[in-house]
Protein backbone atom coordinates (compact mmCIF):
# COMPACT_ATOMS: atom_id res chain seq x y z
CA UNK A 1 0.00 0.00 0.00
CA UNK A 2 1.54 3.32 -0.97
CA UNK A 3 1.57 6.42 1.20
CA UNK A 4 -1.53 8.10 -0.27
CA UNK A 5 -3.57 4.91 -0.04
CA UNK A 6 -2.52 4.41 3.57
CA UNK A 7 -3.48 7.93 4.55
CA UNK A 8 -6.84 7.49 2.83
CA UNK A 9 -7.39 4.23 4.61
CA UNK A 10 -6.65 5.87 7.95
CA UNK A 11 -8.98 8.74 7.11
CA UNK A 12 -11.81 6.35 6.28
CA UNK A 13 -11.28 4.31 9.40
CA UNK A 14 -11.17 7.42 11.52
CA UNK A 15 -14.40 8.71 10.06
CA UNK A 16 -17.32 6.32 10.49
CA UNK A 17 -19.94 6.77 7.78
CA UNK A 18 -22.47 8.44 10.01
CA UNK A 19 -19.87 10.82 11.43
CA UNK A 20 -18.01 12.12 8.41
CA UNK A 21 -15.44 14.87 8.76
CA UNK A 22 -16.67 18.20 10.03
CA UNK A 23 -17.07 21.05 7.55
CA UNK A 24 -17.20 24.78 8.05
CA UNK A 25 -20.79 25.22 7.05
CA UNK A 26 -23.40 22.96 8.64
CA UNK A 27 -25.82 23.53 5.76
CA UNK A 28 -23.25 22.38 3.20
CA UNK A 29 -22.43 19.49 5.48
CA UNK A 30 -26.11 18.48 5.51
CA UNK A 31 -26.34 18.90 1.76
CA UNK A 32 -23.34 16.66 1.23
CA UNK A 33 -24.80 13.98 3.47
CA UNK A 34 -28.51 14.17 2.69
CA UNK A 35 -28.85 15.99 -0.69
CA UNK A 36 -29.06 12.96 -2.97
CA UNK A 37 -31.21 10.84 -0.65
CA UNK A 38 -33.58 13.74 0.03
CA UNK A 39 -34.09 14.19 -3.71
CA UNK A 40 -34.87 10.47 -4.00
CA UNK A 41 -37.45 10.66 -1.19
CA UNK A 42 -39.11 13.75 -2.71
CA UNK A 43 -39.40 12.04 -6.11
CA UNK A 44 -40.71 8.83 -4.53
CA UNK A 45 -43.42 10.64 -2.55
CA UNK A 46 -44.39 12.74 -5.59
CA UNK A 47 -44.64 9.59 -7.66
CA UNK A 48 -46.91 7.98 -5.06
CA UNK A 49 -49.16 11.03 -5.19
CA UNK A 50 -49.24 11.14 -9.01
CA UNK A 51 -50.14 7.44 -9.20
CA UNK A 52 -52.89 7.66 -6.60
CA UNK A 53 -54.40 10.92 -7.86
CA UNK A 54 -53.53 11.36 -11.54
CA UNK A 55 -53.42 7.90 -13.17
CA UNK A 56 -49.63 7.74 -13.53
CA UNK A 57 -48.43 4.19 -14.10
CA UNK A 58 -46.33 3.01 -11.11
CA UNK A 59 -43.56 2.09 -13.56
CA UNK A 60 -42.79 5.71 -14.44
CA UNK A 61 -42.26 9.14 -12.93
CA UNK A 62 -39.50 7.91 -10.63
CA UNK A 63 -40.45 4.33 -11.31
CA UNK A 64 -40.19 2.77 -7.89
CA UNK A 65 -43.24 0.67 -8.74
CA UNK A 66 -41.65 -1.05 -11.72
CA UNK A 67 -42.07 -4.83 -11.69
CA UNK A 68 -44.86 -4.47 -9.13
CA UNK A 69 -47.98 -4.39 -11.31
CA UNK A 70 -49.23 -5.33 -14.77
CA UNK A 71 -50.30 -1.71 -15.26
CA UNK A 72 -47.18 -0.80 -17.23
CA UNK A 73 -46.96 1.85 -19.95
CA UNK A 74 -46.49 -0.62 -22.84
CA UNK A 75 -49.61 -2.48 -21.64
CA UNK A 76 -51.71 0.66 -21.78
CA UNK A 77 -53.30 1.81 -25.01
CA UNK A 78 -55.01 4.89 -26.34
CA UNK A 79 -58.46 4.34 -27.78
CA UNK A 80 -59.80 6.98 -30.17
CA UNK A 81 -63.53 7.28 -30.87
CA UNK A 82 -64.88 9.75 -33.38
CA UNK A 83 -68.51 10.84 -33.68
CA UNK A 84 -69.37 11.64 -37.29
CA UNK A 85 -72.95 12.24 -38.47
CA UNK A 86 -74.23 11.08 -35.09
CA UNK A 87 -72.42 7.73 -35.14
CA UNK A 88 -69.56 6.81 -32.80
CA UNK A 89 -66.79 4.75 -34.35
CA UNK A 90 -63.58 3.43 -32.82
CA UNK A 91 -60.81 4.40 -35.21
CA UNK A 92 -57.10 4.14 -35.76
CA UNK A 93 -55.34 7.43 -36.18
CA UNK A 94 -52.04 8.39 -37.74
CA UNK A 95 -50.55 11.38 -35.95
CA UNK A 96 -47.40 11.66 -38.06
CA UNK A 97 -48.60 14.98 -39.44
CA UNK A 98 -49.48 16.33 -36.02
CA UNK A 99 -47.54 18.43 -33.53
CA UNK A 100 -45.10 16.96 -30.99
CA UNK A 101 -47.75 16.94 -28.29
CA UNK A 102 -49.74 14.39 -30.24
CA UNK A 103 -46.85 12.33 -31.51
CA UNK A 104 -45.51 11.67 -28.01
CA UNK A 105 -48.31 9.28 -27.15
CA UNK A 106 -46.08 7.34 -24.76
CA UNK A 107 -46.18 10.17 -22.28
CA UNK A 108 -49.96 10.52 -22.29
CA UNK A 109 -50.31 6.74 -21.97
CA UNK A 110 -48.04 6.69 -18.93
CA UNK A 111 -49.50 9.74 -17.25
CA UNK A 112 -53.06 10.55 -18.38
CA UNK A 113 -54.04 13.06 -15.70
CA UNK A 114 -57.33 14.86 -16.40
CA UNK A 115 -55.55 18.08 -17.37
CA UNK A 116 -53.05 16.39 -19.65
CA UNK A 117 -55.67 14.19 -21.31
CA UNK A 118 -57.90 17.23 -21.84
CA UNK A 119 -55.07 19.13 -23.51
CA UNK A 120 -54.28 16.11 -25.66
CA UNK A 121 -57.90 15.53 -26.69
CA UNK A 122 -58.49 19.19 -27.46
CA UNK A 123 -55.35 19.24 -29.59
CA UNK A 124 -56.68 16.23 -31.47
CA UNK A 125 -60.07 17.85 -31.87
CA UNK A 126 -58.52 21.00 -33.31
CA UNK A 127 -57.01 19.07 -36.21
CA UNK A 128 -58.29 18.42 -39.69
CA UNK A 129 -59.14 14.78 -40.17
CA UNK A 130 -59.08 12.73 -43.34
CA UNK A 131 -60.75 9.34 -43.50
CA UNK A 132 -58.87 6.92 -45.71
CA UNK A 133 -60.47 3.54 -44.99
CA UNK A 134 -57.21 1.79 -45.57
CA UNK A 135 -56.52 -1.39 -43.65
CA UNK A 136 -54.51 -1.05 -40.52
CA UNK A 137 -52.46 -4.15 -41.18
CA UNK A 138 -51.62 -2.91 -44.64
CA UNK A 139 -49.92 -0.07 -42.85
CA UNK A 140 -48.43 -2.03 -39.98
CA UNK A 141 -47.78 -5.46 -41.36
CA UNK A 142 -47.81 -6.04 -45.13
CA UNK A 143 -47.23 -9.77 -44.68
CA UNK A 144 -50.49 -10.23 -42.78
CA UNK A 145 -52.29 -8.24 -45.42
CA UNK A 146 -50.98 -10.42 -48.19
CA UNK A 147 -52.28 -13.44 -46.37
CA UNK A 148 -55.70 -11.83 -46.21
CA UNK A 149 -55.88 -12.07 -42.44
CA UNK A 150 -56.73 -8.52 -41.56
CA UNK A 151 -60.10 -6.87 -41.28
CA UNK A 152 -60.81 -3.44 -42.70
CA UNK A 153 -60.63 -0.55 -40.25
CA UNK A 154 -61.43 3.09 -40.67
CA UNK A 155 -58.04 4.75 -40.76
CA UNK A 156 -57.63 8.42 -40.03
CA UNK A 157 -54.86 10.82 -40.84
CA UNK A 158 -54.38 14.05 -38.99
CA UNK A 159 -53.03 17.11 -40.63
CA UNK A 160 -52.60 20.70 -39.60
CA UNK A 161 -52.81 24.09 -41.19
CA UNK A 162 -49.02 24.17 -41.01
CA UNK A 163 -48.69 21.11 -43.14
CA UNK A 164 -51.06 22.63 -45.69
CA UNK A 165 -49.23 25.92 -45.77
CA UNK A 166 -45.97 24.11 -46.32
CA UNK A 167 -47.23 23.15 -49.77
CA UNK A 168 -46.26 25.30 -52.72
CA UNK A 169 -48.00 28.64 -53.06
CA UNK A 170 -50.60 29.74 -53.86
CA UNK A 171 -52.86 28.45 -51.10
CA UNK A 172 -55.25 26.02 -52.76
CA UNK A 173 -58.94 26.76 -53.03
CA UNK A 174 -61.63 24.18 -53.33
CA UNK A 175 -63.95 24.64 -56.26
CA UNK A 176 -66.75 22.84 -57.98
CA UNK A 177 -64.40 22.15 -60.84
CA UNK A 178 -63.47 18.48 -60.65
CA UNK A 179 -59.98 19.00 -62.01
CA UNK A 180 -59.27 21.80 -59.55
CA UNK A 181 -60.64 19.63 -56.76
CA UNK A 182 -58.23 16.85 -57.61
CA UNK A 183 -55.46 19.36 -57.78
CA UNK A 184 -56.41 20.60 -54.33
CA UNK A 185 -56.10 17.14 -52.83
CA UNK A 186 -52.76 16.12 -54.22
CA UNK A 187 -51.49 19.61 -53.63
CA UNK A 188 -52.68 19.84 -50.05
CA UNK A 189 -51.21 16.59 -48.81
CA UNK A 190 -47.87 17.03 -50.44
CA UNK A 191 -46.46 18.17 -47.12
CA UNK A 192 -47.07 14.69 -45.75
CA UNK A 193 -44.54 11.95 -46.45
CA UNK A 194 -45.04 10.36 -49.85
CA UNK A 195 -46.06 6.96 -48.51
CA UNK A 196 -48.74 8.54 -46.38
CA UNK A 197 -50.64 10.23 -49.20
CA UNK A 198 -54.27 9.70 -48.26
CA UNK A 199 -56.97 8.67 -50.65
CA UNK A 200 -59.90 9.84 -48.52
CA UNK A 201 -61.73 13.08 -47.83
CA UNK A 202 -61.68 15.69 -45.13
CA UNK A 203 -64.33 14.83 -42.53
CA UNK A 204 -66.33 16.89 -40.08
CA UNK A 205 -65.81 15.20 -36.70
CA UNK A 206 -68.46 16.28 -34.18
CA UNK A 207 -66.86 14.80 -31.07
CA UNK A 208 -63.61 13.08 -30.29
CA UNK A 209 -63.16 10.79 -27.31
CA UNK A 210 -59.77 9.62 -26.12
CA UNK A 211 -59.62 6.85 -23.54
CA UNK A 212 -56.59 5.28 -21.91
CA UNK A 213 -57.05 1.59 -21.22
CA UNK A 214 -54.87 -0.56 -18.96
CA UNK A 215 -54.86 -4.32 -18.59
CA UNK A 216 -55.77 -6.48 -15.62
CA UNK A 217 -55.00 -10.14 -15.09
CA UNK A 218 -56.98 -12.80 -13.25
CA UNK A 219 -54.52 -15.57 -12.50
CA UNK A 220 -57.27 -18.04 -11.51
CA UNK A 221 -59.01 -17.89 -14.88
CA UNK A 222 -55.84 -16.91 -16.83
CA UNK A 223 -57.79 -14.02 -18.36
CA UNK A 224 -56.25 -10.76 -19.52
CA UNK A 225 -58.82 -7.96 -19.90
CA UNK A 226 -58.81 -4.20 -20.26
CA UNK A 227 -60.33 -1.40 -18.24
CA UNK A 228 -60.52 2.35 -18.77
CA UNK A 229 -58.10 4.37 -16.68
CA UNK A 230 -59.10 7.81 -17.95
CA UNK A 231 -61.18 9.31 -20.73
CA UNK A 232 -61.94 12.73 -22.17
CA UNK A 233 -64.29 14.08 -24.85
CA UNK A 234 -63.83 17.26 -26.87
CA UNK A 235 -65.84 18.82 -29.72
CA UNK A 236 -64.22 18.73 -33.15
CA UNK A 237 -64.06 21.53 -35.70
CA UNK A 238 -67.36 22.72 -37.11
CA UNK A 239 -67.84 22.93 -40.87
CA UNK A 240 -67.17 26.67 -40.87
CA UNK A 241 -64.05 26.26 -38.71
CA UNK A 242 -62.87 23.50 -41.01
CA UNK A 243 -63.29 25.68 -44.08
CA UNK A 244 -61.55 28.57 -42.42
CA UNK A 245 -58.70 26.29 -41.43
CA UNK A 246 -58.31 24.96 -44.96
CA UNK A 247 -58.65 28.40 -46.55
CA UNK A 248 -61.86 27.47 -48.30
CA UNK A 249 -64.39 30.24 -49.02
CA UNK A 250 -67.69 29.68 -47.31
CA UNK A 251 -69.70 30.17 -50.46
CA UNK A 252 -67.97 27.24 -52.11
CA UNK A 253 -68.35 23.59 -51.22
CA UNK A 254 -70.85 22.61 -48.58
CA UNK A 255 -72.88 25.55 -47.35
CA UNK A 256 -73.97 25.86 -43.77
Amino acid sequence: MDKSERSLSIAQTAMPDNRVSSAFNPYIESLRQYGASTLLVVVALSQWSFVKNSNLTPWKGGGFGMFSTVDAGPFRRLVYRFKCQGIWTTVDVDLAGGPDLLRNTGEIRNYPSQDRLKTFTEALASMVWIRTDRTRHEHVCPTDHEQGQCPLYPYWLATTRTSLIQATQPVPRRSNNRQADTHYRSYSWSALPEKRLPSGDVQVVELIEVAVEAISYDRATRTVAQHVVARCVAPGLSTSQLKARLGMPLELGQRQ
Partner: protein, 299 residues
Protein backbone atom coordinates in the same frame (compact mmCIF):
# COMPACT_ATOMS: atom_id res chain seq x y z
CA UNK B 1 11.84 -29.10 -16.22
CA UNK B 2 8.87 -28.03 -18.34
CA UNK B 3 6.54 -28.72 -15.44
CA UNK B 4 8.61 -26.44 -13.20
CA UNK B 5 8.42 -23.67 -15.82
CA UNK B 6 4.63 -24.03 -16.12
CA UNK B 7 4.28 -24.07 -12.33
CA UNK B 8 6.47 -20.96 -12.03
CA UNK B 9 4.47 -19.17 -14.69
CA UNK B 10 1.20 -20.12 -13.02
CA UNK B 11 2.54 -18.87 -9.67
CA UNK B 12 3.58 -15.55 -11.21
CA UNK B 13 0.15 -15.10 -12.85
CA UNK B 14 -1.59 -15.96 -9.57
CA UNK B 15 0.57 -13.51 -7.62
CA UNK B 16 0.00 -10.83 -10.22
CA UNK B 17 -3.80 -11.29 -10.07
CA UNK B 18 -3.68 -11.29 -6.26
CA UNK B 19 -1.61 -8.14 -6.30
CA UNK B 20 -4.00 -6.40 -8.70
CA UNK B 21 -7.04 -7.46 -6.67
CA UNK B 22 -5.39 -6.24 -3.46
CA UNK B 23 -4.64 -2.90 -5.11
CA UNK B 24 -8.23 -2.58 -6.30
CA UNK B 25 -9.59 -3.60 -2.90
CA UNK B 26 -7.48 -1.05 -1.05
CA UNK B 27 -7.59 1.85 -3.52
CA UNK B 28 -9.76 4.97 -3.39
CA UNK B 29 -13.37 3.83 -3.74
CA UNK B 30 -14.50 7.27 -4.85
CA UNK B 31 -12.09 7.26 -7.78
CA UNK B 32 -12.96 3.73 -8.91
CA UNK B 33 -16.70 4.30 -8.41
CA UNK B 34 -16.39 7.47 -10.51
CA UNK B 35 -14.56 5.60 -13.25
CA UNK B 36 -17.11 2.78 -13.30
CA UNK B 37 -20.00 5.25 -13.30
CA UNK B 38 -18.54 6.99 -16.34
CA UNK B 39 -18.22 3.63 -18.05
CA UNK B 40 -21.86 2.98 -17.14
CA UNK B 41 -22.86 6.27 -18.77
CA UNK B 42 -20.94 5.40 -21.93
CA UNK B 43 -22.54 1.96 -22.17
CA UNK B 44 -26.05 2.65 -20.86
CA UNK B 45 -26.30 6.45 -20.95
CA UNK B 46 -29.65 6.72 -22.64
CA UNK B 47 -31.69 6.01 -25.72
CA UNK B 48 -32.29 9.64 -26.70
CA UNK B 49 -29.63 11.24 -28.88
CA UNK B 50 -29.81 14.64 -27.17
CA UNK B 51 -29.13 12.95 -23.83
CA UNK B 52 -26.81 10.21 -25.02
CA UNK B 53 -24.36 12.25 -27.10
CA UNK B 54 -23.47 14.92 -24.49
CA UNK B 55 -23.29 12.38 -21.68
CA UNK B 56 -21.00 10.08 -23.68
CA UNK B 57 -18.75 13.02 -24.58
CA UNK B 58 -18.49 14.21 -20.96
CA UNK B 59 -18.03 10.66 -19.69
CA UNK B 60 -15.30 9.96 -22.24
CA UNK B 61 -13.45 13.13 -21.20
CA UNK B 62 -13.72 12.06 -17.57
CA UNK B 63 -12.44 8.57 -18.33
CA UNK B 64 -9.35 10.01 -20.00
CA UNK B 65 -8.71 12.81 -17.50
CA UNK B 66 -8.57 10.83 -14.26
CA UNK B 67 -8.38 13.94 -12.05
CA UNK B 68 -11.96 14.74 -13.05
CA UNK B 69 -13.24 11.49 -11.60
CA UNK B 70 -13.07 12.89 -8.11
CA UNK B 71 -13.87 16.49 -8.99
CA UNK B 72 -17.22 17.64 -7.56
CA UNK B 73 -17.71 20.36 -10.17
CA UNK B 74 -17.21 17.90 -12.99
CA UNK B 75 -19.92 15.68 -11.50
CA UNK B 76 -22.16 18.71 -11.08
CA UNK B 77 -21.91 19.27 -14.85
CA UNK B 78 -22.78 15.61 -15.41
CA UNK B 79 -25.83 16.03 -13.14
CA UNK B 80 -26.89 19.11 -15.12
CA UNK B 81 -26.54 17.26 -18.45
CA UNK B 82 -28.47 14.25 -17.14
CA UNK B 83 -31.19 16.44 -15.65
CA UNK B 84 -31.59 18.52 -18.81
CA UNK B 85 -32.01 15.40 -20.92
CA UNK B 86 -34.15 13.49 -18.44
CA UNK B 87 -36.57 15.99 -16.92
CA UNK B 88 -38.58 16.59 -20.13
CA UNK B 89 -38.97 12.80 -20.33
CA UNK B 90 -39.57 12.24 -16.66
CA UNK B 91 -42.79 10.29 -17.24
CA UNK B 92 -41.28 8.10 -19.95
CA UNK B 93 -37.84 7.18 -18.60
CA UNK B 94 -37.10 3.97 -16.71
CA UNK B 95 -36.43 4.37 -13.02
CA UNK B 96 -32.74 3.49 -13.17
CA UNK B 97 -32.18 6.45 -15.51
CA UNK B 98 -33.55 8.67 -12.74
CA UNK B 99 -31.49 6.76 -10.17
CA UNK B 100 -28.40 7.65 -12.22
CA UNK B 101 -29.13 11.32 -11.50
CA UNK B 102 -29.27 10.76 -7.73
CA UNK B 103 -26.04 8.81 -7.94
CA UNK B 104 -24.25 11.45 -10.03
CA UNK B 105 -25.47 14.02 -7.51
CA UNK B 106 -24.03 11.91 -4.70
CA UNK B 107 -20.69 11.83 -6.54
CA UNK B 108 -20.86 15.63 -6.95
CA UNK B 109 -21.64 16.27 -3.28
CA UNK B 110 -19.35 13.68 -1.70
CA UNK B 111 -15.99 15.25 -0.94
CA UNK B 112 -14.52 12.06 0.52
CA UNK B 113 -15.01 8.31 0.11
CA UNK B 114 -16.71 8.29 3.51
CA UNK B 115 -19.36 10.76 2.32
CA UNK B 116 -19.85 8.71 -0.84
CA UNK B 117 -20.24 5.51 1.17
CA UNK B 118 -22.90 7.13 3.35
CA UNK B 119 -24.78 8.45 0.33
CA UNK B 120 -24.53 5.14 -1.55
CA UNK B 121 -25.85 3.22 1.45
CA UNK B 122 -28.81 5.57 1.85
CA UNK B 123 -29.65 5.54 -1.88
CA UNK B 124 -29.60 1.74 -2.05
CA UNK B 125 -31.64 1.39 1.14
CA UNK B 126 -34.26 3.95 0.13
CA UNK B 127 -34.57 2.70 -3.46
CA UNK B 128 -35.24 -0.82 -2.19
CA UNK B 129 -37.56 0.44 0.55
CA UNK B 130 -39.80 2.24 -1.94
CA UNK B 131 -39.64 -0.69 -4.37
CA UNK B 132 -40.89 -3.04 -1.63
CA UNK B 133 -43.56 -0.55 -0.55
CA UNK B 134 -44.96 -0.49 -4.08
CA UNK B 135 -44.94 -4.28 -4.31
CA UNK B 136 -46.76 -4.63 -0.99
CA UNK B 137 -49.30 -1.99 -2.04
CA UNK B 138 -49.90 -3.60 -5.43
CA UNK B 139 -52.85 -6.04 -5.28
CA UNK B 140 -51.57 -8.16 -8.17
CA UNK B 141 -48.02 -8.68 -6.91
CA UNK B 142 -48.07 -10.77 -3.73
CA UNK B 143 -50.69 -13.20 -5.04
CA UNK B 144 -48.53 -13.87 -8.11
CA UNK B 145 -50.59 -12.36 -10.95
CA UNK B 146 -47.90 -9.89 -11.96
CA UNK B 147 -45.13 -12.46 -12.36
CA UNK B 148 -47.47 -15.02 -13.89
CA UNK B 149 -48.49 -12.68 -16.69
CA UNK B 150 -44.98 -11.29 -17.09
CA UNK B 151 -43.51 -14.76 -17.49
CA UNK B 152 -45.89 -15.67 -20.30
CA UNK B 153 -46.03 -12.43 -22.30
CA UNK B 154 -42.80 -10.51 -21.65
CA UNK B 155 -40.12 -11.50 -24.15
CA UNK B 156 -37.35 -10.63 -21.67
CA UNK B 157 -38.48 -13.55 -19.49
CA UNK B 158 -38.99 -16.05 -22.32
CA UNK B 159 -35.73 -17.91 -21.70
CA UNK B 160 -36.46 -18.38 -18.01
CA UNK B 161 -40.08 -19.37 -18.70
CA UNK B 162 -39.02 -21.99 -21.20
CA UNK B 163 -36.16 -23.43 -19.16
CA UNK B 164 -37.60 -23.32 -15.64
CA UNK B 165 -41.33 -23.03 -16.31
CA UNK B 166 -41.34 -25.68 -19.03
CA UNK B 167 -43.62 -23.60 -21.25
CA UNK B 168 -43.32 -24.33 -24.96
CA UNK B 169 -42.12 -21.75 -27.46
CA UNK B 170 -45.44 -22.06 -29.30
CA UNK B 171 -47.39 -21.23 -26.15
CA UNK B 172 -45.24 -18.17 -25.49
CA UNK B 173 -45.58 -17.02 -29.10
CA UNK B 174 -49.35 -17.48 -28.87
CA UNK B 175 -49.52 -15.41 -25.66
CA UNK B 176 -47.41 -12.63 -27.12
CA UNK B 177 -49.52 -12.55 -30.28
CA UNK B 178 -52.71 -12.38 -28.24
CA UNK B 179 -51.27 -9.53 -26.18
CA UNK B 180 -50.40 -7.67 -29.36
CA UNK B 181 -53.94 -8.16 -30.64
CA UNK B 182 -55.37 -6.97 -27.33
CA UNK B 183 -53.26 -3.83 -27.37
CA UNK B 184 -54.14 -3.07 -30.97
CA UNK B 185 -57.85 -3.45 -30.23
CA UNK B 186 -58.47 -6.55 -32.33
CA UNK B 187 -59.70 -8.48 -29.28
CA UNK B 188 -61.03 -7.36 -25.90
CA UNK B 189 -59.65 -10.19 -23.73
CA UNK B 190 -57.78 -13.47 -23.97
CA UNK B 191 -56.71 -16.43 -21.88
CA UNK B 192 -53.03 -17.14 -21.44
CA UNK B 193 -51.50 -20.53 -22.17
CA UNK B 194 -48.88 -21.90 -19.75
CA UNK B 195 -47.67 -25.05 -18.00
CA UNK B 196 -49.16 -26.60 -14.82
CA UNK B 197 -46.29 -25.54 -12.55
CA UNK B 198 -45.91 -21.96 -13.72
CA UNK B 199 -48.44 -20.56 -11.28
CA UNK B 200 -46.44 -21.81 -8.28
CA UNK B 201 -43.22 -20.49 -9.80
CA UNK B 202 -44.84 -17.07 -10.17
CA UNK B 203 -45.97 -17.05 -6.53
CA UNK B 204 -42.51 -18.20 -5.44
CA UNK B 205 -40.83 -15.46 -7.46
CA UNK B 206 -43.14 -12.87 -5.91
CA UNK B 207 -42.33 -13.88 -2.35
CA UNK B 208 -38.62 -14.22 -3.09
CA UNK B 209 -38.59 -10.72 -4.56
CA UNK B 210 -40.40 -9.31 -1.53
CA UNK B 211 -37.96 -11.08 0.79
CA UNK B 212 -34.72 -10.13 -0.94
CA UNK B 213 -35.69 -6.51 -1.66
CA UNK B 214 -37.04 -6.06 1.85
CA UNK B 215 -33.90 -7.62 3.32
CA UNK B 216 -31.63 -5.34 1.27
CA UNK B 217 -33.66 -2.28 2.35
CA UNK B 218 -33.51 -3.22 6.04
CA UNK B 219 -29.84 -4.18 5.92
CA UNK B 220 -28.70 -0.98 4.23
CA UNK B 221 -30.89 1.40 6.21
CA UNK B 222 -30.25 -0.39 9.50
CA UNK B 223 -26.51 -0.98 9.02
CA UNK B 224 -25.67 1.93 11.31
CA UNK B 225 -27.62 0.45 14.23
CA UNK B 226 -27.00 -3.26 13.98
CA UNK B 227 -23.67 -5.01 13.48
CA UNK B 228 -25.45 -8.07 12.09
CA UNK B 229 -27.29 -6.02 9.45
CA UNK B 230 -24.02 -4.24 8.69
CA UNK B 231 -22.36 -7.58 7.95
CA UNK B 232 -25.31 -8.94 5.97
CA UNK B 233 -25.83 -5.97 3.65
CA UNK B 234 -23.15 -6.77 1.05
CA UNK B 235 -23.94 -10.49 0.63
CA UNK B 236 -27.65 -9.64 0.35
CA UNK B 237 -27.11 -7.04 -2.38
CA UNK B 238 -24.80 -9.36 -4.31
CA UNK B 239 -27.38 -12.15 -4.00
CA UNK B 240 -30.03 -9.77 -5.32
CA UNK B 241 -27.85 -8.73 -8.26
CA UNK B 242 -26.93 -12.24 -9.29
CA UNK B 243 -30.43 -13.70 -8.87
CA UNK B 244 -32.53 -10.86 -10.27
CA UNK B 245 -30.62 -9.81 -13.34
CA UNK B 246 -30.14 -13.38 -14.52
CA UNK B 247 -33.89 -13.32 -15.20
CA UNK B 248 -34.72 -9.65 -15.76
CA UNK B 249 -31.72 -8.64 -17.85
CA UNK B 250 -31.76 -4.89 -17.17
CA UNK B 251 -27.98 -4.82 -17.06
CA UNK B 252 -27.63 -1.03 -16.77
CA UNK B 253 -29.65 -1.09 -13.55
CA UNK B 254 -27.61 -3.98 -12.23
CA UNK B 255 -24.38 -2.13 -12.94
CA UNK B 256 -25.61 0.98 -11.18
CA UNK B 257 -26.50 -1.00 -8.05
CA UNK B 258 -23.18 -2.88 -8.15
CA UNK B 259 -21.25 0.41 -8.41
CA UNK B 260 -23.23 1.90 -5.51
CA UNK B 261 -22.62 -1.32 -3.60
CA UNK B 262 -18.90 -1.11 -4.26
CA UNK B 263 -18.74 2.57 -3.27
CA UNK B 264 -20.29 1.96 0.16
CA UNK B 265 -17.90 -0.81 1.21
CA UNK B 266 -15.42 -0.11 3.97
CA UNK B 267 -11.69 -0.61 3.79
CA UNK B 268 -11.77 -3.85 5.74
CA UNK B 269 -14.43 -5.31 3.42
CA UNK B 270 -11.99 -6.26 0.67
CA UNK B 271 -13.82 -9.41 -0.36
CA UNK B 272 -17.07 -7.50 -0.80
CA UNK B 273 -15.31 -4.92 -2.95
CA UNK B 274 -13.96 -7.62 -5.23
CA UNK B 275 -17.32 -9.39 -5.24
CA UNK B 276 -19.09 -6.25 -6.45
CA UNK B 277 -16.52 -5.83 -9.22
CA UNK B 278 -16.90 -9.47 -10.22
CA UNK B 279 -20.68 -8.99 -10.20
CA UNK B 280 -20.25 -6.27 -12.83
CA UNK B 281 -18.56 -8.80 -15.09
CA UNK B 282 -21.05 -11.58 -14.36
CA UNK B 283 -23.93 -9.25 -15.25
CA UNK B 284 -22.40 -8.84 -18.70
CA UNK B 285 -22.48 -12.63 -19.16
CA UNK B 286 -26.23 -12.52 -18.55
CA UNK B 287 -26.59 -10.62 -21.84
CA UNK B 288 -25.72 -13.72 -23.85
CA UNK B 289 -28.69 -15.28 -25.75
CA UNK B 290 -28.92 -18.27 -23.42
CA UNK B 291 -32.32 -19.32 -24.73
CA UNK B 292 -31.07 -19.67 -28.29
CA UNK B 293 -27.94 -21.42 -27.03
CA UNK B 294 -30.03 -23.80 -24.93
CA UNK B 295 -32.75 -24.56 -27.42
CA UNK B 296 -32.28 -25.42 -31.07
CA UNK B 297 -34.57 -23.50 -33.49
CA UNK B 298 -36.77 -26.55 -33.98
CA UNK B 299 -37.59 -27.17 -30.32
Amino acid sequence: MKLDMVAGLARRIRDSIRDKLTRIATSNTRSIAGKLTLLLFVLYGGDYWDLNIPIVIFAAIGLVASSLQTNGWYWAVIVAVLAKGSLPRFFVLDNHKILMIYWALALALSATPAYLATNARRLIGLAFLFAVAWKIASPDFAEGSFFHLTLVVDGRFSGFTRIVGNVSADALASNQLSMRDLLSGDITSFKTVDSPGLSMIAVGMSWWTLFIEGAVAVAFLGAGWSHRLHCLRNPLLILFLLSTYAIATVIGFGWLLAICGYAQTENQEKRSRIAFLVALLVLQLYRAPWTQLTFSPTT
